[in-house]
């Protein structure tokens, strides 16, 4: 066990755990965050995605010790139903969720991608999301939502 200083959504949390522990378990079980989800634990589906220093990562296969001291943002850090982030609002406007289990991953992946590439083409948006799976088949609406968010045609 060792104490790691985790900076999540603007707050700092000291956590005393095995440094190999996947970040996802700390976020969900110690910080009580529901946004990042356990989908596969293998980095294959993207449901656990969080943003670390501007980059979208898979928290299910990232050891907590690797991200100590870095700025970590989860879905909760973007906005709430009382005050949604524009990307969340764009997903809502396009009804871009069914069961919603994957949607954290899509929002976080797209947020990081658009931050780095503010005017992507439709093809670039789709390409940036090939590592995220949505079994309900909300793809068309997710792409429309991100186009709306980037100011492109919905």
């Amino acid at each position: 066990m060792s104490v790691i200083s985790l900076k999540v959504n603007g707050r700092t949390y000291p956590v005393d755990v095995d440094p190999e522990t996947p970040l996802l378990y700390i976020l969900r079980n110690d910080l009580n965050l529901n946004g990042p989800k356990f989908g596969c634990g293998l980095g294959q589906c993207g449901a656990c995605t969080v943003i670390v220093e501007g980059e979208a990562i898979r928290s299910c296969i990232t050891a907590v010790a690797l991200v100590g001291g870095f700025e970590i943002t989860t879905l909760e850090g973007l906005g709430s139903t009382a005050k949604m982030h524009p990307i969340q609002q764009a997903f809502l406007d396009n009804h871009a969720a069914q069961c919603g289990y994957c949607i954290n991953g899509f929002i976080m992946q797209a947020k990081a991608f658009v931050d780095a590439n503010p005017s992507p083409t439709f093809e670039q948006i789709a390409e940036s999301l090939v590592g995220n799976l949505c079994r309900c088949g909300t793809h068309q609406r997710i792409l429309a939502a991100i186009q709306q968010y980037t100011g492109g045609a919905a």
């Binding site: 095995d18 996947p22 989800k37 989908g39 294959q44 449901a47 949604m84 809502l92 069961c99 909300t138």
Partner: protein, 799 residues
Amino acid sequence: MRKEHYIPNATYEHENEPEVLYENGFPINLSKPGQTKAGFARRDFLKGVGVMVVGFGVAGSTAKITGGSTVEAAGMTGAAGTGVEAATALADPPIDQVDSYLVVGQDGGVTILTSLVDLGQGISQQYIQWVAEEMEVSMARIRVILGDTGLVANDGGMFGSRATNLSGAKFRRAAAAAKAKLLELAGERFGVSPSDLTVHDGVVSVKTEATKSVSYAELIAGKRFDVEIPSNFEGTKPWQEYKIIGQPISRVDIPVKLTGEEEYVHDVRLPGMLYGRAIRPRGQSLYQHSVLLDVDESSVADVKGLVKIVAAGHLGGVQGLGGQFNFVGVICEREEQAVEAASKLKVTWAEPPEIPADLYQHLLAVGRTTSTRQNGDLEAALAIADKVLEATYTFPFQAHASMGSVAAVGDVKLDSDGKVVSAQAWSSTQATHTLRNNVRLALGIPADETADKVRVLWRWGAGSYGSNNGNPIVGVDAAVMSAAVGRPVKVQWFREDTHGWESYGPIHLFKIKAGLDASGNVIAYEFDSWGATANNNSSGERYKFGRGSATFRVMGGNPTGGTFFLTAPLRAPSQPATTFASESFIDEMAAAVSADPVQFRLRHLDPADPAQARGMDVIAAAAERFGWDTRPSPNPAHVANRSGVVRGRGIAYGPRSQAYVATVMEVEVDQATGAVRPIRAVVAHDIGLIVNPESLRQQIEGQVAQTTSRALWEEIKHDGRRVSTLDWLSYPYLKMTEFPRVESVLINRPELGTGSGAGEAATVSIVGAVANAIFDATGARLRQAPFTPERVLEALNAR
């Protein structure tokens, strides 16, 4: 080894689709299932005890859908203004009473209660729209409680698109009857006839004297309606007056899913909760053979936080059905510790029997006939036919493959002797009452104490698309592990178990034979079906094919009556398979007589038959929107061009129950690699009355995406002993760049007064449409799903 929690030979209840309700479609049979027990002790308003809080804002705020939030904190007691009260006694609410489904609270809110849970498709939105429409209450005042067995009546599980049928039939009649009763009460109060009254957002006023008004809450809160749900639609609103039904209203459940505020079953956290992991053989085997030989506890001696190791299920060595309930559980203080313990614990299982190398040959060998249908003398018609065609098609085992590894939370309270006092399980199962019974069986609770001691609380889960994606089993895992330690335990499966231990959609094999006369009309049609589970869909019977027969065979060959692998309904059970076969074959017939595939279908449908006429409408609508050019397939322009990338389009017609759907799919085929790229899908869709067109479009788009993936990639494979497709690499799903663009053409028939479910219908035609599009592009006929590049290359080489 220790057997901490040994359950000898419990026979679990299986989550099966209720045939009667599913087959009969609409209207739903109100007397089935979950027959009523007497009385209202369960939600006894007069006793004034056992009140529970239902978590949602006051009237005027956004409606909230919940599985009974805050129950876990409040136990079975609490306080609220909703009027919904928790169990104080044994009986489930009767299924024929308005009070079982609708409760008006002191706050003026209306609560809908039902066992028909939401699989992530937003069906709750429909419940809200029906009740708002019929009761004249704004949607913001309506909340929904789903699948809390301590509160809701047992209308059975959520299968077979029943929710639209049931809500459109039952909740609608209940809401109309509730409004009638409220008008009667208001009439008595003001000394006028109900026809002299008007309602606006839950407030009843005398038409001629607006000052005389009273709210629903004042009239009924804290009291019962004591009204039976009418058996017909008398008193419901005529469709011409609908203000809310038919509107594209945003799903109320979506906002909280976009912010992390929703509580999925995976997010349930209880005080003192431990974390469990269940260990099963890596991938299910033939008949779920799971015989435990040894657990070496010394292998986890160094794991911190280990609380207990539990071995549960039929561990005496019983094979066959029920084997999925065998597991070894590790329970730890922290989740990562449970993961570590599960990966380190040395568990030895007996070698399972060998799986036949060719499952389809085995299916042919052991199939036994379950039903036959005959129409005229088939052999005589074949004898005079100008052309006779025959083809065999196969369809593999496929997985529900939920995005979330399935999870559940168990909270079993024990007395000082270790006997079960009460058991609660949080689950996103489709059938809460089935899980309740299985928890009872697992914990050895007598049947007559079920409702008293066991409570299942539904929570949102990842989409499950059928039934038994693992949820019903992990719910039992969690209860068993909790009972072993007398503390709450959250159990989440690994991905390999969610892929490897769910119940698959069954394999099928079809042999179809037809005879055509000299004018290219089908005069004889024989449809022979083999399946790992029963299936009575004969797609040929959708058309007027002259004389025909259909024979259905189901797999036997196993002493327990089981199938190779666990099977359960997977979205429009078996119909993507049957329709792939029959709609491919119709295309083959059209090609054999050089007919256009759309025209060939239309001339084999009878406009005088109401169902077939609706079929003609959707086929024509899909073709029109697509811009279909009338010509035979394959595209004559491509016949000489057997290299490079070519495009084609195919049509398939796939009705399901009272839903009529046709899809035109456009694909691109790379003839060098066999890779198929879906481009565009046009789906024409007629379910009768449309409740919410936006939700409907969402369902159609999702089904096209999911089923296109099933058509191209998805197949459960094994290594000779066990299932080996255990993750998203070995069981691939289409990537974001690979989905077709979907256009929906909605045909609304409000005059029918009823609508069929839409959660499955668009699934039916997709695989056939993809196969026909590949044929149109290349002239290669795919008769084995899925259409992987290898299979496409094989078919291309066979041209």
